[in-house]
Amino acid sequence: MKGLRFAALGYLAAILVAPVGLIFYRTFERGIGAAWESVTTPEAQHAFWLTLVMVVIAVPLNTVFGVATAMLLERREFRGKAVLNSIIDLPFAISPVVVGLALILVYGRTGWFGDWFAENGIRIIFSTPGMVLATIFVCLPFVVREVQPVLREIGTEQEEAARTLGATPAQTFWRITLPAIRWGVGYGVVLSTARALGEFGAVAVVSGRISGVTETATLRVQERFEAFDPVGAYSASVVLALMGMAVLLFMNLLERRRRRMAA
C-alpha cells in the first residue's frame, strides 16, 4: 500500500504539481510588479474579458441544450435516439483543431453560408461569433452527460405523481424534475466552465488570433510565449489557473453541500 501511495503522489507531482508550481514561481521571480503590469495591459485585459465572454455565452446555452437533450434521451422514445446519444460524445472524440477547421468550412467566407453572411455584413469566422461557436462545440457533452445518469436514477415516478396531481408538463419540469437534477446540472456547468476557460485549439483556428481583438486568455499565453515575453506568458497562465481553481473550488463546495443535503 505504501509503495502505491508513493507512486501515485510521485506521478501527480511530476505531471501536475511541479509544472504548475514552476509557472507560479517563474511569474513572480522578478517581483509581483512585472507580472501585474503584464496582465493589466489593454491587450491582456481584453483577452481575459474575451475568455469571460466565451464562458458567459457558451455555458448557459450548453446548459439549456444539455438539460433538454438529456430529458429527450431519458424520457422519450423516438427514432434515431441511439444515433443522437452517440453524436453527443463527438466533441470528446474529435480534436479541437479539426472542430475549428470544420467550422471554417461551414461558416467561413467560402463556406455554405459565406456569401449570405458577406452580403449581410455578418462575420462569423475570425470574429467573436465563431469563437463562441467553437467553445460551445467543445463544451457540448458535459451537461448532457452529467444530467443523464441523474435522470435515470431518480426515475419517472415523482414526475408521474406530479402529473396525477394536476401538474402540466412545464410545472412538473420546473417544480419536480429540475430540483431533483440540480446537482447534476451544477457539475455539468462547472465542467463546461473549466473547459471553456481552457479551450485553445478550436478557438485558435477560428479566431485569426488578432491581439486585442480576437485573442482569448489561452491564445494570449501562446502569443506572449512566441514573442519571447516569458513573464507575460507565465502571468497570463497564472490568472487562467486561478480562474480554473476557483471553478474547482466551487465544485467542491457544491459537492459538500450535496452530501450534507443527502444526509
Binding site: 415523482q158 408521474e160 396525477t164 396531481l165
Partner: protein, 317 residues
C-alpha cells in the same frame, strides 16, 4: 365514481401486457387487482390512471369516456409502491403540491394540509423531509398527498409491497378504515392474496394479461372460476386427480369408500391449525389442514396409516 374499463389491450414491444381486459368497479367500492408479477395488473391500473395509453379499449369514469384524457386532467389520486415522495420538499409541501398547482388560497391550503396530516398521523412531522421518514410514514404521506385534491378515484399500485410485515398489516387495516370514512372509489394492486382478501370488497384476479375472475373475496375463494384462481387465492393440494383446499380434507382412522389410503409423514403445529403431510400409497403427497382439536382427537403420529377423504362430501352410510 364508477370505473369501467372495456376491452383494454396494451403492448410493450412484442409483449402483450393486457389482452382485451374488461373491469367494472362500482362507485365507492374498494377493489383489489390481484395477480402474480407480470400479469398486467399494474399496467391496467396505470391505464385507468392515464399514465399509460391503451392500444385499444375505453376507460369510463361515471359513464364519461376518459380514455384520451391525460393523467393531469383525470382527477385520480395515485399512490406508488416506492412512495414517489418529492425528496426536495417537506412533508407539508408534498401534501400541498396538488392544492398549490390548483392555486388554492394559502390559508385554505394550510387548513386542508393540517387536516390531512392528522388523518395520516403525521402532524408532528410536517417540516421533515421524506428522507427523515420511515417507509410506512412515507407511504402515509403519499396517501395524504393523493387525497389532498379530493380525487373521485384513488388508485394504489402495490402500496404496501415495500414495507415490512408489521407495518404492512397496520396500513392495510388503516386503508380499510380510511375507505369507510372517505368512501372514494378505490382500486389497489397486489400480488398478495391475503392482502386482497383482508382489504377488498371485490377482487379481480388477473393473469397473463387477462381477467380470470371478478367477485367478492368469498366467491373467489370458495367458487374459483378457473384452476389458476383456485391455486392463486389459497393453498391447494392434490388428491388423485382433484385439486382441493387442504382444510376441505378430513382424516379418518378406518377405510372408507372414496377415501385415499396414506401414511402420515409429518405433523406441523401452526398455532390453532395443524398441517398434516401424508404420502398416499399411490400418487403425489397430500397436505391436510385440521384444527388442533381434530388433530388431537386423531392422535396422529409419524408412520400411521390413515385415510384421507373430502370433508365437503358427507360420508356415505
Amino acid at each position: 365514481m364508477a370505473i369501467e374499463a372495456t376491452d383494454i389491450t396494451k403492448h410493450f414491444g412484442d409483449f402483450k401486457a393486457l389482452d382485451g381486459v374488461s373491469v367494472n368497479v362500482p362507485n365507492g367500492s374498494l377493489t383489489a387487482l390481484l395477480g402474480p408479477s407480470g400479469s398486467g395488473k399494474s399496467t391496467l391500473l396505470r391505464v385507468i390512471a392515464g399514465l399509460e395509453e391503451p392500444d385499444g379499449g375505453t376507460v369510463r369514469f361515471g359513464g364519461r369516456d376518459v380514455t384520451h384524457v391525460s393523467a393531469q386532467n383525470r382527477g385520480v389520486g395515485f399512490v406508488f409502491q416506492h412512495y414517489a415522495a418529492f425528496k426536495h420538499m417537506t412533508v407539508r409541501d408534498n401534501i400541498a403540491f396538488g392544492l398549490k398547482i390548483r392555486k388554492q388560497p394559502k390559508d385554505k391550503i394550510k387548513a386542508r394540509v393540517d387536516e390531512l396530516l392528522g388523518l395520516v398521523h403525521l402532524t408532528g412531522w410536517a417540516d421533515r423531509y421524506p428522507a427523515q421518514l420511515s417507509g410506512g410514514q412515507r407511504q402515509r404521506m403519499a396517501l395524504a398527498r393523493a387525497l389532498a385534491v379530493e380525487p373521485e378515484v384513488l388508485l394504489l399500485d402495490e402500496p404496501f409491497g415495500a414495507l415490512d410485515t408489521r407495518v404492512r398489516e397496520e396500513l392495510r387495516e388503516w386503508l380499510r378504515r380510511l375507505h369507510e370514512e372517505v368512501h372514494v372509489t378505490t382500486i389497489f394492486v397486489t400480488h398478495d392474496q391475503q392482502e386482497a382478501m383482508e382489504v377488498a370488497e371485490q377482487i379481480v384476479v388477473v393473469n397473463d394479461g387477462r381477467i380470470e375472475q371478478a367477485g367478492s373475496p368469498a366467491d373467489v375463494y370458495e367458487k374459483p372460476a378457473t384452476p389458476f384462481v383456485m391455486e392463486f387465492v389459497g393453498p391447494v393440494t392434490r388428491v388423485g386427480e382433484r385439486v382441493v383446499r387442504p382444510h376441505d380434507l378430513d382424516i379418518v382412522q378406518d377405510a372408507e369408500p372414496g377415501a385415499l389410503e396414506a401414511m402420515v409423514q409429518r405433523v406441523v403445529y401452526l398455532g390453532f391449525e395443524v398441517r398434516v403431510e401424508l404420502v398416499p400409497t399411490d400418487g403425489p403427497p397430500v397436505s391436510v389442514q385440521l384444527t388442533r382439536t381434530e388433530a388431537d382427537a386423531l392422535e396422529l403420529a409419524e408412520g400411521d396409516i390413515v385415510w384421507v377423504r373430502d370433508g365437503r362430501v358427507p360420508a356415505r352410510a
